[in-house]
């Protein structure tokens, strides 16, 4: 019954997206969008709790795959209450002015086995940059799980300005880790 409802819902929500094998909506409780920054050389993990993902992907035809992600910047958890207050401010994400960040894929290619790479445009604040992220796809029962890690440079997006612009306390490289689980629509 729930499965039936999920399929109905998936069909309803994604009716507009044409392309390869369509996927149901992202299962928020199983999906995760995290980042690891290095502070004084120490990796510190944070995450975004709210994000919307739309994707279509068929491992047999990866080039036709598409993904669009929208991140609610106010949902950031940077690892501590104090950091959370800081990172929504002007020097970091300036969430008032830039409430959303987004990723829009431009191409997907196969890397062999269950490995793929998606390239696209990542927009954070008012900066858009080309990024590429390798990822794996795994079938888990009725679900498809997409998992990957890539690195961005925070300075490319103007993240961490003023006193934070220096990289000796917070490193420029920030690792992004994602795991999206969606019901595979048959």
């Amino acid at each position: 019954m729930t499965r039936f409802a999920a399929i109905l819902l998936a069909g309803f929500m994604f009716a507009g997206i044409a392309g390869a094998a369509e996927l149901g909506p992202i299962q928020a409780d199983k999906s995760r969008l995290a980042f690891v920054s290095k502070q004084m050389g120490v990796p510190v993990e944070g995450e975004f709790r709210k994000f919307a993902v739309q994707m279509s992907f068929d491992p047999a035809k990866p080039e036709a795959g598409k993904a669009q992600i929208e991140i609610d910047m106010a949902s950031i958890d940077a690892g501590s209450a104090e950091a959370n207050e800081e990172v929504v401010g002007k020097n970091w994400f300036n969430v008032k002015q830039f409430p959303k960040a987004s990723f829009v894929s431009s191409s997907v290619k196969a890397l062999g086995g269950n490995k793929f790479e998606v390239a696209g445009k990542l927009t954070i604040r008012d900066k858009t940059r080309d990024v590429a992220a390798p990822f794996t796809m795994a079938q888990q029962g009725a679900n498809a799980q997409f998992e990957g890690t890539f690195t961005i440079k925070r300075a490319d997006f103007g993240i961490g300005q003023g006193a934070w612009a220096d990289f000796d306390t917070v490193a420029n490289e920030v690792q992004i880790k994602f795991k999206f689980v969606a019901a595979a629509k048959k």
């Binding site: 502070q39 004084m40 050389g41 120490v42 510190v44 993990e45 207050e85 800081e86 006193a163 220096d166």
Partner: protein
């Protein structure tokens, strides 16, 4: 005071370790209080790291000190000291040793629970003994602070006792931990 001189001395190593650890604790303690009040800034992150590195370093010296102490019994207290004072002195010293161990460990555990690993001098990562858990992190921060305030109170009594021995009892209890006073004693 005729029998103010006790037989026996602390070894030079024991004296050196006592003062190294004491200086380290004064430093880490002041830095801890100061950094805690700062608004978040790169400076604050740096000071937190320095505090943790210093704390771990002190912890290592404390371990060496305990090993030394276990193999080199301290000299007996002056014979003139009343029994209750000996008991209090010994109890206080044991409590201080306990706190010297418990404070760095709670600092380490707190860092783990808060999700900020300790990497000694940015080089040697200490294993996170606890998983990230905000409530536990906050509790451990309170424990760390409370133990510190307890130690501060004990150290004040400790110093007061040392001064009392020197000024009122005129024995060599302070001098045997502060060798430059010792020389005065000998030439007197």
């Amino acid at each position: 005071m005729t029998n103010g001189l006790s037989q026996g001395r602390y070894t030079a190593t024991a004296v050196t370790l006592h003062w190294l650890v004491a200086l380290g604790i004064f430093g880490a303690f002041s830095l801890g209080l100061y950094m805690h009040e700062l608004p978040l800034s790169p400076t604050k992150l740096k000071l937190y790291s320095y505090h943790k590195w210093a704390g771990v370093t002190i912890f290592l010296f404390v371990l060496i000190r305990l090993a030394w102490r276990a193999t080199h019994p301290p000299p007996p207290l002056p014979a003139a000291m009343p029994a209750w004072q000996r008991t209090v002195a010994h109890a206080l010293h044991h409590l201080l040793y306990l706190l010297m161990v418990a404070i760095p460990i709670t600092g380490w555990l707190m860092s783990s629970a808060k999700g900020f690993q300790t990497v000694w001098f940015g080089l040697v990562p200490l294993p996170d003994l606890l998983d990230k858990n905000k409530e536990l992190g906050d509790t451990l921060a309170l424990v760390h602070k409370t133990l510190n305030l307890t130690m501060a109170a004990l150290v004040i009594s400790h110093v007061a006792a040392a001064v009392k021995h020197h000024v009122f009892d005129r024995d060599d209890v302070l001098a045997r931990m502060l060798p430059f006073l010792d020389n005065n004693k000998v030439t007197r």
